[in-house]
């Protein structure tokens, strides 16, 4: 019953103390492996090492937006409270990841293609993804009533899912500067295994850290929305064990 705010709060209290260290250790392990131990690329030398943050951040931003779209749908159609909470909790870290994707992509592009930026399908649609995230956050801050804010933000989140599909397939549909995926979930990856494993590990680490961030933000939002309830009042006077 994760749909109940109170249950969600207790559940996340038991998950965060172990999920947070696991996420941090996994991410650091993947990055150290990728930066210091993976072999250099025969064409790109060492600039390719940007991949170990670029791909995890980009995939995280895309997945996060898909989750935002689902939360938007549930919030708009069924008006579920926890979906409204998630709509608020998922967006900020996703926006940070979209920004990281753009910046690291530019810094990788310069030594590889000779330019920081080009207005092609992949890059432009990724920039739009960042704007969609910022738009969802802004709508929630501008509209006072939290339920009305969730409806507006939820609609925008749903519309933006179309853009996620464009980002994903832009490298296959049209000519772009961006290289195609070498890492495939189904079928043979064309990336060297010595590069694939550190990439998969840092990807997992960053996704887990995203989950930690969402849980933390959702707890704050739940606490605020339920501030008039008895269980929150009790929590405020007598903090749970192991919490500040």
């Amino acid at each position: 019953m994760l749909g109940s705010p109170r249950y969600f709060y207790t559940f996340s209290s038991s998950v965060l103390p172990w999920l947070t260290p696991i996420a941090l250790v996994t991410l650091l392990a993947g990055l150290v492996w990728g930066l210091g131990f993976a072999p250099s690329d025969y064409q790109q030398g060492n600039s390719y090492r940007i991949i170990f943050i670029h791909v995890p951040a980009s995939s995280g931003a895309l997945m996060g937006y898909m989750a935002l779209g689902v939360a938007g749908l549930v919030a708009v159609v069924w008006r579920m409270k926890m979906a409204e909470v998630m709509l608020k909790a998922i967006a900020p870290f996703g926006a940070a990841l979209a920004a990281i994707s753009l910046v690291t992509g530019a810094l990788w592009g310069k030594p590889t293609w000779g330019t920081y930026w080009q207005w092609d399908a992949r890059m432009t649609s990724m920039l739009i993804l960042l704007f969609m995230y910022v738009g969802v956050i802004a709508l929630q801050n501008v509209i006072r009533d939290p339920r009305q804010a969730a409806r507006a933000a939820g609609l925008l989140a749903m519309v933006g899912v179309i853009n996620v599909i464009i980002v994903k397939y832009s490298v296959e549909w049209v000519q772009t500067l961006h290289q195609g995926s070498t890492l495939k979930l189904f079928g043979e990856s064309t990336i060297n295994p010595a590069m694939k494993y550190p990439l998969l590990i840092s990807m997992l680490g960053l996704w887990l850290l995203y989950a930690v961030n969402v849980l933390m933000r959702a707890r704050t939002e739940v606490m605020w929305r339920e501030r008039r309830s008895k269980w929150v009042a009790k929590l405020v006077t007598r903090p749970e064990k192991g919490e500040q």
């Binding site: 990055l31 900020p92 870290f93 920004a99 990281i100 690291t104 850290l209 961030n213």
Partner: protein, 67 residues
């Protein structure tokens, strides 16, 4: 280790600037988002605790004036 020395590691071929600024900016954004999430939690808790204390004080004052 894929590098001969620590200096080699920092140089990243000739691409040290690109690699390290990519990681620097990423670390900044990730850490900032985590800190903001943590701080938000503390702020809500503090605000609610303050409101609660005020409500309790008000209740006490009302009790005293009644007796």
């Amino acid at each position: 280790m894929a590098f001969e020395s620590f200096a080699d590691f920092l140089a990243m071929g000739k691409h040290g600037f690109y690699v390290w600024s990519a990681y620097g900016i990423s670390a900044f954004l990730i850490i900032a988002s985590m800190v903001l999430a943590l701080r938000g939690q503390g702020q809500v808790r503090q605000t609610l605790a303050r409101q609660q204390r005020r409500a309790e004080l008000d209740a006490e004052v009302n009790d005293e004036s009644r007796t």
